[in-house]
């Protein structure tokens, strides 16, 4: 037990709910955690396939999310339709640089980071790559940590659309991209939950023994 052994190699399995380590009995069908009763698996079942499915759906919806209008602003003087990117550009032009950077990070950088990182992680896991497992695990933790912040634009649109309804004076309407973008955020969150980072380490295990 002095080497780098994974629990799975020892026939042990850590409960995904209460973290209790217990022995998984072979061939008894569905196993349950002796402490909390949750079903036990060495690795999340169907992790790679499910993660791919969710990720591909997110890629598809990412296109309308960026091409369609997310917010329509109308007043007596002007009328404009904004996509996510043009909204950021407008903020930058009007001098709110700080907010422009925050929105750019939340609505452009983070979704792209998530899509690209998860693709990279899935491909490397499927190729049973032994390349920098520590860094890849760190990348996964980063994706999990920052993913939720992309919801920012949805909340901004929701608040503004509900508040600014002053007839001719000014109105704000949520556009169809809000739906697509919300779906991208939810799908990528589900995708990163489905991914099992322990798969990154499994090929390394094989090598050392």
């Amino acid at each position: 037990m002095t080497g780098m052994n994974s629990a799975a190699e020892q026939g042990l399995c850590s409960c995904h709910v209460c973290n209790l380590v217990s022995r998984l009995e072979q061939g008894t069908g569905q196993a349950h955690c002796p402490r909390c009763g949750a079903s036990l698996h060495y690795r999340k079942p169907g992790s790679v396939a499910r993660c791919w499915a969710l990720l591909i759906s997110a890629y598809i919806l990412y296109i309308p999310a960026n091409l369609l209008t997310i917010m329509e602003t109308g007043s007596l003087l002007k009328y404009r339709k904004d996509t996510i990117v043009s909204g950021v550009v407008e903020l930058w032009k009007t001098g709110s640089w700080g907010i422009a950077i925050v929105v750019f990070i939340a609505s452009v950088t983070i979704p792209l980071l998530k899509l690209i990182s998860l693709t990279l992680l899935l491909v490397s896991v499927q190729r049973r790559s032994r390349w920098r497992p520590r860094q890849r695990t760190r990348l996964y933790r980063l994706v999990e940590l920052v993913g939720r912040w992309s919801m920012l634009d949805i909340y901004v649109v929701a608040l503004l659309a509900a508040l600014v309804q002053l007839g001719n004076m000014a109105t704000v309407k949520a556009g169809p991209a809000a739906l697509a973008f919300g779906a991208v955020v939810v799908l990528t969150m589900f995708a990163s939950m489905q991914f099992d980072p322990r798969l990154i380490w499994d090929p390394i295990q094989k090598e050392s023994t």
Binding site: N5, A8, V21, A158, L163, P197
Partner: protein, 210 residues
Amino acid sequence: MEHHSAQLIACHDCDLLQREIPLKKGCAASCRRCGAVLYRNATDSIDRTLAYTLAAAVLFVIANLFPIFAIEVQEAGSEINLFGAVQSLWDKQMHSVSLLVFLTTILIPALELITMTYLLLPLKFRHIPAGSYILLGMLKIVKPWGMIEVLMLGVLVSLVKLTSSFKVIPGIALWSFAALTLLLAAAAATFSARDVWERLDSKGDKEVAA
């Protein structure tokens, strides 16, 4: 022996099997292969989390009852609270977006606060609440979907966007959301599911023995 492998721990990120070591107060143990935080010895975890949770629950109610902000322009004006925003999206046929906002900022945070209080209050007085195993599992599933802190940032961004064309009056809920964000972060930082499981374990053994 096999049931009492509690001193063994498998890293949730790389599955490395390790032995638990006792920690000093306020310290955390991390995996020696991938660096993930395995567990921490939080000081008075249950008491402190309960205190933060109860305070957060009060602020959550205030934040939902009062307007976040109001705008005024040439006699006309309007004000908004969180549920009003959800309703207004629903009325404009944006059902899914409305539902998403409702779930992530109202329903799930509310559920989380209620569940935490329900679990921690009896545990503090050495009772085990019914269904605690299922509730702890549920808490783990819904946790990523409560997004009050993201909403807070959204409120700030909206505020900046509005000030360019309107006179904006901040409401009580704005301040409540700010304080709520801090309290939820504090509660998340002090909460240790491991302590709760240990408490459940020790009580369970005693009940069996009695």
